[in-house]
Amino acid sequence: MDLSLLKQLNRDRENRCAAILVTHMSDGTQRLVHKDDKLSSDPLAEELERRFRSGKSGTVETDHGNFFLTVSVPAPRLVIIGAVHISQALVPMAEMAGLDVTVIDPRTAFATEDRFPGSSLKADWPENVLKDAPLDAYTALAAVTHDPKIDDFPLIEALKTECFYVGALGSRKTHGKRLERFKEVGLTDRHFDRIDAPIGLDIGAASPQEIAVAVLGSIILALRKAPETAR
């Protein structure tokens, strides 16, 4: 591998930028493809797009020879809006499942170190936190405050940046009102279909802990299964 390619790849990984290193197996030549590149003219376009979704490295055989695709996608993240009771259960569960978790809540009575020991907790408005750490396609967002002042902005951002999972707590009625507000800012049914609401798998979850299990189940479903079936 060319050292400059290796450096670029490491930079991309640090910046949470998805990249695929394409190695031509017969002569060892390599190139680096990014998720934002115009892929349509690429002879491997379809395969590259599939791999960006699945995150899996592998060999592809074509008429122009065999290629190995080293796929580098960022580690999955979970951003939870709301330092509520459900979040207290969801944080350790999600961390155990391998997600990098951040909790955001501007209400300092909720966002305390005592309630979330040792976790990444931001006692600030989502608008401020997401400016420094923007959402992306390898991030899941669960909004659980039910307060539109806090939840709406990150939910809209999550839909625009194509977070792999977007969940919103609230009754069907609350969610209906939410969609009316979102229509006013230009979001459409295509976006709305992507919102998991009522939040979580339908397992009859009742307690905050059970709802956390349902939410984590939905996130893992979106992470592991949807990439293969999407589109």
């Binding site: 591998m1 050292l3 450096k7 060892g28 995150g55 899996k56 592998g58």
Partner: protein, 110 residues
């Protein structure tokens, strides 16, 4: 998606750091697996000319053989592909006890 634990040195970052300090380096990548294999396709092992290494391509079963081949790759500058498995005639020296087979691509970092 793979998640690397932050406390364990990352093979690709190690490769860059070693090259930056002037050490010749080869990079090994698992490119294919069959059956039960300990590390998924895309896993890396980085090796220098003295046989120091970081990362893994198996559960420690074939790293020794990959390191030896990698030193040759650093010498010749030519990439090569290695295959390991219990079906291999060298299985009793170097192979995967789990019963799987893997193919490993070894290339110099220039």
């Amino acid at each position: 998606m793979t998640t690397e634990t932050s406390s364990i040195p990352d093979a690709l970052k190690t490769a860059e750091a070693w090259r930056n300090s002037g050490r010749p380096v080869a990079l090994a990548t698992v490119i294919e697996t069959w059956g039960s294999a300990p590390r998924p396709v895309g896993s890396h092992l980085v090796i220098d000319a003295d046989g120091n290494f970081e990362g893994s391509v198996s559960g420690g079963c074939v790293e020794g053989a990959v390191v030896a081949e990698a030193i040759d790759v650093i010498d010749t500058g030519r990439p090569t592909t290695l295959e390991f498995g219990v079906a291999d005639e060298t299985a009793w020296q170097v192979g995967l006890s789990c019963g799987g087979r893997i193919r490993v691509y070894v290339e110099p970092v220039n």
